[in-house]
Amino acid sequence: MTNEQELLDLRYANLVEDLQAGRQEELRRVYDAYRTPFLRWAMSRFQIQKEDALEVFQDVILAFYENVMNGKIDSLSSKLQTYLFGIGRFMLIKRFKANERSTSLELLPADTANALVEADVPQMEISERSVMVQQALQRLGTSCRDLLLAVYYHQYSGEVIAERLGYKNPDVVKSQKARCMKQLRDMMTRDFSREDL
């Protein structure tokens, strides 16, 4: 790892807290900072096209974000670059195993192996039912949709949601969430019933 990258990592000392507080612009900073180094590394290491490398990089960012938000990462014990490239390598091996130039870790920092944890890579497959839920979500009002995404995808705390979405307090968030979920459940029940017919 270059000193420059170490420096970039230092700038992200509060990244986990920032993201959990809803400052998604920080994720873009990470994206911009590591995009080119990752693409360069992935393209040369796995002999793949830029489009493929970019797709994997975006999956890496997504996995990183979700792991931060669901509490799997409560602080960046390893360097950010190490973590991102570790997850990336895991994904690349799954997709382009035959292309890899070497199976050794010599091009990665020493502690990268610690980041190669399958549990850190979310399952991205989308079921048919998920598609139906997504369609139902589109029919919900914006406020309910935003709230459910904030609760179940971003996993923001009640305080953060109240502040960002303009609810009076976390208790209101909680009750509003229950109402929105009920609406969505009713929609889904109707949709599933129609499907069964």
């Binding site: 994206y31 911009d32 900072a33 960012i61 989308i126 995808y153 229950a178």
Partner: protein, 249 residues
Amino acid sequence: MTDPHDSLFQLLDKQASSQDLSASEQQELDQLMKDPEVQKLAAQHAEIREGIVAQGRANLRASMAQWEQASQQTTPGARVIPFRTIGMALVAAAAAVALLFLLIRPSDQGPSRELMAELSQPYPNVLMPMERGESSSSLIQRGFEAYENGDFAAALSLFSQTDSLSSDLDFYRANAHLGLGQWQEAEALFSTVAQSSSRFGQQAEWYQAMALWHQGRYDEATTMIEQIANTPDHEMHKRAKRWGKGGKG
């Protein structure tokens, strides 16, 4: 109106979000889940959660697609840099450096003008090599892009806008000063880098000697070059030896 199954959903949410259920909560959930109807509701709840997560991912992917587009729009000239353009820029930069050396170097000391120009070429960018056709989104990346194009003034300006304190980046700042013929600034920075833990510490020693030479501080420069020439495993040993062979004095 509250849903009669609210407590069930709350327990399921808590369980799904990697939070530990207390013993009593786990017991309550286990009890509830004995009911087949509750099991169906729990399965549906899990499907809905999964669908919301899928939508969240889709939204995030859409954001990343926008970031890609935005970075392409903000750096319109950075999309594709033809090698020919870079080559011409490098030749122009080399010529400018050579000309500056020609004007300043005393005629009766050191190696030939050609060798001098060659040995004093700013160090190539190995810290953050730019990929051709790649967008350069960060200030540092854009700085290195300018550096590679021989636009040292722009490189310096961009490097200065970063809040980086990296001694590796200082090495390239110093090189940019060198490329602009700003010998004092270059020498001061090279000196700092040479004393730091930078990976370019030894290279900085060489370039510090070059900058000293151009300020007319020949004795100091010669001493440094001789020390490098007498250190076989020094990164710039070969250059120092070539200097010695090409020198007249």
